[in-house]
Amino acid sequence: MSTPRLRNNYPLVALLLPALLMVGLLFVYPLLFSLAYAFRNEAENRWDLANFSKAFALYGADVSLTIGVTVLSTVLVGVLAVAVAGYLTLGENPRAVAVLRWIYRWPMFIPFVVAAQLMRTFLAKSGMLNNSLMSLGLLEPLNAMSLLDWRGVVVTFVWKQLPFAALLISGAMAAMDRSLMESARGLGAGRLRILIEIVLPQVRATVGVSLILSFVTMLSALSVPMMIIAGSPTMITVDMAWRVNSYGDYGVANALGFVSFAMSGVAAWFYLRQGLREGGQPK
């Protein structure tokens, strides 16, 4: 990028500037602020790792729970989204495809807070899930239990993020050249085999992007664990809010924030490394 090119386009850059400043001042600056202050020891007025040792001593279990819940939810979203998108692409019963296409999108625009509230009633001990299973004779009333712990969070995350991932992945599948799929079908390959061996490798980039965005979205969710998990262990977003609101302890909160940034960083690194190994640029 040569400087003259930039200079010739000053008017365009000027149009862009206010929006860039907005993201810079209100996102990048607080982000760097958060990363730096994770290492700030206010009590002794120096920079060290005290916040981290305190954070892990107090919330070590919550860190592992957060990793477990987000990774499990992301894997489930990936498997189910590929299954749904695969059926939408390869399904041979037009009516079933149309019905599925109409159903799967509903949770996409439902806000996380609302999804959490829905699941709070649905998964409760007396909720509709247990009631339906008992009516169908699949569950003994004595065995009925509330799913409002980490399992409830996983269910909510998958329910909410599946449509987003399935929409992106089915979009990429629809854009593929169908001739290869059809010739494989003509040669007698099963649809599952076509999905795994022909379709999936071609949409891998989209699957990666949709899963990373889902992973980060889940790491950012404050309302879902707040509403679904009562007590501890809970997710670190809730711990951050608690440290800040109850103790004004930004140090430990920022150390936990650093952990969540690191988790999304590791996810992004995996994705980029995969892209480099395949010799192409990740899209």
Binding site: M1, R5, L6, N9, L12, V13, L15, L16, P18, A19, L20, M22, V23, L26, F27, Y29, P30, L31, F33, S34, Y37, V99, L100, I103, Y104, W106, M108, F109, I110, P111, V113, V114, A115, Q117, L118, M119, R120, T121, F122, S132, M134, P141, W159, L213, V216, S220, L222, S223, M226, M227, T237, M240, A241, Y250, N254, L256, G257, S260, S264, A268
Partner: protein
């Protein structure tokens, strides 16, 4: 096969001749396939719509105690409770709507020029700028929001609708900018050049040609930002305290107090605009614009 089974099959073979079960093998597999297919789709539908139905029932349940499978008393008593002024839900609703409208105005004011600039392929570092706007979606936001609140505190912005509006605008900006850029890019240069050749100034050509042609896409981005603002939780949670109460925060409080009816009615209020948008988004966002979002 054991000898006894051989024997059995030998005796039953006569009775079980093909004539007694005509075409059974020819019909069963496709029927089973259809059955499995619709059973799976039915299960999927139950999982998607079950929680929604459960919430809808709660909004009209006046009394519902365990272990009853359905409410003992139905009615709209809690609706009048929610809309009473002292409940605070109406105040929260108007605060939410006001903040959402302000957020849309700010986002469009920033995204229209930025989107126009990004729609020009000759812009240097174009893809880098596009990615820059994705940053607020690419990092977990809670830690950022609490530090924004800390920074805003020294400017007196914490606890004001202005502060909340700024946080919401950051969350929505990527969609506003990307959709605006895609909308301007979909116009093409011919019409703008025609206007310029007829003597229109760049500003006039923009106002009379580009802007009206991009309007449907900009409308879609406005609705998108409106919804993001309406639903935003963690930014409001940190920056809005203690004075700004939006609908999601009111819902959280009702839910944590164990008031399922009030929480469900508030949830329904938040849900309706989102569902409407989902059903009509394709009217606003044409396929060619949608395909080039973020490119």
């Amino acid at each position: 096969m054991s000898s006894r089974e051989m024997c059995l099959s030998e005796t039953s073979r006569r009775e079980m001749s093909l004539r007694n079960f005509p075409l059974r093998h020819a019909y069963v597999p496709p029927m089973t396939g259809t059955f499995v297919r619709f059973a799976l789709i039915g299960l999927f539908a139950a999982i998607i719509f079950g929680p929604l139905l459960n919430m809808l029932i709660w909004t009209v349940a006046e009394a519902w105690y365990f272990p009853a499978k359905l409410p003992q008393r139905w009615g709209f008593a809690f609706w009048t409770k929610v809309f009473r002024p002292e409940a605070g839900a109406m105040k929260a609703l108007s605060a939410s709507l006001l903040i959402a409208c302000m957020t849309v105005a700010l986002s469009l004011a920033l995204a229209i020029p930025a989107g126009y600039a990004l729609s020009k392929r000759k812009l240097p570092l174009r893809s880098l700028f596009l990615l820059f706007f994705l940053l607020p979606q690419a990092f977990p936001t809670v830690a950022v929001h609490m530090n924004i609140a800390r920074i805003f505190y020294s400017f007196g912005l914490t606890g004001t609708i202005w502060g909340v509006m700024l946080v919401h605008a950051i969350q929505g900006l990527v969609f506003a900018v990307w959709i605006a850029s895609a909308s301007f890019a979909a116009i093409g240069d011919d019409q703008v050049e025609a206007a310029r050749n007829l003597g229109a100034s760049p500003l006039r050509a923009f106002m009379t040609v580009s802007l009206p042609l991009a309007a449907p896409g900009l409308m879609a981005s406005a609705i998108f930002v409106f919804l993001i603002s309406l639903d935003e939780f963690s930014g409001t949670f940190f920056v809005g305290v203690p004075d700004v109460r939006t609908l999601p925060l009111t819902m959280l409080n009702a839910a944590l107090e164990g008031n399922y009816q009030i929480a469900s009615i508030t949830a329904l209020l938040l849900l309706v605009p989102s569902i409407l948008f989902m059903l009509f988004v394709e009217r606003f966002l044409k396929a060619d614009v949608l395909a080039s979002v973020g490119k």
